[in-house]
């Protein structure tokens, strides 16, 4: 809010005076914003009428906290950052040699991911590992995969898609319906779900070929909502909002099963103790493999003519067209490829949950996936993986913070604040790093030497 202050007054005021003034403004604004929402609470009484509960103490606390926070930020944090910036500018530019970790980041990352379940099992045993492998490992990797899939559409081809979750839903329902009704195996349905999602990607692609920018955004959003509404209302097939349950588990490539009752149950075949953790660990490696497949395909595609056409389309559609690139097929392949990975992730999701309902495919999911892509620095696979880890892992970890109960009293439920903090984190990260975590891009075509291009020089595409 520094912009509110008249610069002429700034010159006279000392930093502390300025901070005091800013703190006063911030407090006043916070008072205005929160007076009704925090100061009063609407509650139902015994006869189901709404009554107001007064909470002025809490309001005062929040307002004072805002003012003090603003005071500290303007008075101390801002000058300190300014100084650090100046020092950095004065210091001779040292070209930092990339360290070992930085140079081999991808290899180390993949190694760590491969070892993660083993380490967890060694640390907390099979039973304790369930939560860590499932809630953290698999959950984050699903989002990594979805974000990498969406990255093809948004990051590479520059087409803003707000309805990506539709393809996720198509994949999930394809597996759920065909798996439960026809008893087909996951290994047959995984590619089938991918193809089906790709087909829907093309279907969506056709009407939106001529649309650009925000028109495209709203039509893709509408498409996502249409798919969700059809899933809710087409009760004969999808069972409506109740969803489909009893979706078969994935088998170990048809050789072993993870159902305790089956004769070829993994523990019986291998002669080991029964545990639900085997399935989770297997799923973990499965989604890891799917993620790596997505990354591999993306990296390879970028070097193929079609990948270069996508990036050309993102940079400048007109130039692209004048060079003889067929923008229709380019856009359609981007939609289809992105949708296919969404479909894979969807069928994996259905197999993992054993239950699907339209609840899982709301717009919020699309928004989260898009946010991960943008926060990661569009186009950068590593950046997107880091963003997924931070955003999804961060909100998952909030479920675990039981010690906060000791601080804020036993009524405090951190889960309640999860999405609030998620939304605020999206804003803060974006303000802090407008270009995403990894802001530079590696060119796929280069003369002599590959140099990272600062993302300030690349466009994000408008079509």
């Amino acid at each position: 809010m520094a912009v509110t202050v008249n610069p002429e007054r700034d010159a006279v005021a000392t930093p502390i005076q300025r901070a005091l003034r800013e703190a006063f403004y911030a407090g006043a604004i916070a008072l205005g914003l929160f007076v009704l929402f925090i100061g009063l609470r609407t509650d139902q009484n015994m006869s189901n009428e709404l009554i107001l509960v007064q909470r002025w103490g809490l309001l005062a606390g929040v307002v004072i906290a805002t003012a003090v926070g603003r005071f500290l930020y303007v008075g101390f944090a801002q000058p300190a950052m300014q100084r650090a910036k100046e020092d950095k500018a004065k210091a001779p530019a040292v070209v930092a040699e990339a360290g070992f970790v930085r140079r081999n980041f991808t290899k180390i990352g993949i190694g760590a991911l491969l070892l993660y379940p083993i380490v967890i099992v060694l640390l907390v045993g099979f039973q304790g590992s369930l939560k860590w492998v499932d809630n953290f490992g698999i959950q984050i990797l699903i989002y990594v995969m979805l974000a990498w899939g969406l990255n093809i559409v948004v990051g590479l081809a520059g087409l803003l898609d707000l309805g990506y979750v539709a393809f996720y839903a198509v994949g999930a329902y394809a597996y759920a319906l065909l798996g439960t009704h026809y008893g087909l195996s996951f290994w047959i349905l995984l590619p089938a779900a991918g193809c089906m999602a790709a087909f829907w990607g093309v279907l969506l692609g056709f009407p939106v070929l001529r649309l650009r920018g925000d028109y495209l955004a709203i039509v893709t959003l509408a498409f996502g909502e249409i798919i969700r509404l059809v899933l809710i209302n087409w009760r004969e097939v999808t069972n409506g909002s109740a969803g489909i349950s009893g979706i078969p588990k994935v088998s170990f490539f048809g050789l072993m099963s993870f159902n305790v009752s089956d004769p070829n149950y993994i523990a019986k075949v291998l002669g080991i103790a029964q545990s639900g953790a085997y399935y989770k660990i297997f799923l973990y490696y499965l989604i890891l493999a799917l993620c790596l497949l997505t990354a591999f395909v993306t990296i390879r595609l970028r070097r193929l003519p079609v990948g270069r056409a996508w990036e050309a389309l993102r940079e400048d559609e007109i130039a692209c067209r004048s060079l003889g690139i067929n923008t229709t097929t380019t856009k359609l392949t981007a939609f289809a490829t992105g949708a296919m990975f969404g479909g894979f992730a969807g069928s994996f999701f259905a197999a993992r949950q054993g239950f699907v309902s339209p609840e899982s495919f709301v717009f919020l999911e699309s928004a989260i996936i898009l946010a991960i892509v943008v926060l990661g620095g569009m186009g950068s696979l590593v950046g997107i993986a880091i963003a997924a880890l931070v955003m999804i892992g961060g909100t998952e970890i909030l479920r675990e913070l039981d010690f906060l109960k000791a601080v804020f009293g036993p009524d405090f439920t951190p889960e309640l604040y999860r999405m609030l903090l998620f939304g605020m984190a999206m804003v803060i990260v974006m303000l802090w790093k407008p270009r995403g975590f990894v802001g530079s891009r590696e060119p796929t075509a280069f003369l002599k030497e590959r140099r990272a291009v600062s993302s300030s020089f690349t466009k994000e595409g408008h079509g």
Binding site: L36, F37, R41, T42, D214, L229, G423, M424, M426, P434
Partner: protein, 300 residues
């Protein structure tokens, strides 16, 4: 025929609310070229503020005339909601102006998530019903028109007239239109661009707050998640009418209202939203920049 007219009236009521919200989207889009995704939640904040003011009024006074109660609710909601939108613009959008296009979209989505969850955390997740404020229904020739619907249409018409005057006849409106056409040039000619943009956000929020108050009065219930669906519908309306065009937003809002009420009356109520979204897609295939939108001229 009576049934049809009845649906027409329902559609007009619904469309007025969508139109009021859609103006906020289209104005912000016109002036800074971003989708203010938090606008739907701004509308919800407006409805919630109206609810709390209503409860305060009924707690303090034994009975308040409905007109005065509605007026107070609207004014307080307009003020507070404007403060919210103003703050959001300052904190989340202004620092990213001039940054790449998707950055403010992401902060807007983040703000939308944060706002609805803020209301959920502070006010609880339940639906909040209020006793009906206006219950009179007129019966003309077999067509029933409730006083609520008349109020909604009249308030909307009055506000639109005021708004049209503001945009077309005042220096503020001139500054706004100048910023819309060329922000840099407007700044060079002495228009305070930052202030104009702030005022745009305040105006959009005020209209959304009125829409929220009317929504509360019409349905008698509001919940923290009520911002999303009307928000998306209004956004659809803005795009349908041609985003950036003010008459387009109103026209789009009315169209979405009519489509919805007609579809639920003659076909199936389950698929009314599907119908609205499909018609949007179909219209955009033939008119890629909406009904009244100007086609984007590309400079190479």
């Amino acid at each position: 025929m009576q049934y049809f007219v009845q649906q027409l009236i329902n559609g007009l009521t619904l469309g007025s609310i969508y139109g009021l919200i859609a103006i906020g989207y289209t104005m912000v889009y016109g002036i800074i070229g971003m989708i203010n995704f938090a606008h739907g939640d701004i509308f919800m904040v407006g409805a919630f503020t109206a609810l709390i003011v209503f409860l305060i009024l009924s707690a303090l006074f034994y009975s308040v005339p409905v007109v005065i109660a509605l007026l107070i609710m609207m004014i307080v909601a307009m003020l507070l909601t404007s403060l919210y939108n103003w703050t959001i613009e300052k904190v989340a959008y202004r620092p990213l102006r001039g940054s790449f296009r998707l950055a403010p979209l992401i902060t807007a989505i983040g703000m939308s998530i944060a706002l609805s969850n803020f209301v959920q955390v502070t006010q609880g997740p339940r639906n909040k019903p209020i006793p009906p404020m206006v219950s009179k229904v007129y019966n003309i020739d077999g067509i029933s028109v409730s006083l609520k619907q008349i109020i909604i249409v009249i308030v909307t018409a009055l506000l639109l007239a005021l708004f049209w005057y503001l945009v077309n006849k005042t220096s503020l409106g001139r500054a706004q239109r100048a910023c819309e056409q060329d922000r840099k040039m407007a700044a060079l000619l002495g228009v305070d661009v930052d202030r104009t943009i702030s005022i745009t956000f305040i105006m959009g929020a005020s209209l959304a707050a009125v829409a929220g108050t009317l929504f509360l009065m019409y349905y008698g219930v509001v919940a923290f998640s009520d911002g999303f669906v009307p928000g998306v519908k209004a956004f659809t309306a803005a795009v349908l009418g041609g985003i950036g065009s003010l008459p387009g937003a109103v026209l789009g809002g009315l169209m979405i209202g009519f489509i919805e009420s007609m579809w639920s009356a003659y076909f199936s109520i389950d698929y009314k939203d599907v119908a609205a979204f499909s018609i949007l897609a179909i219209v955009l295939i033939f008119l890629p920049s909406g009904i009244l939108g100007r086609p984007e001229v590309e400079k190479v």
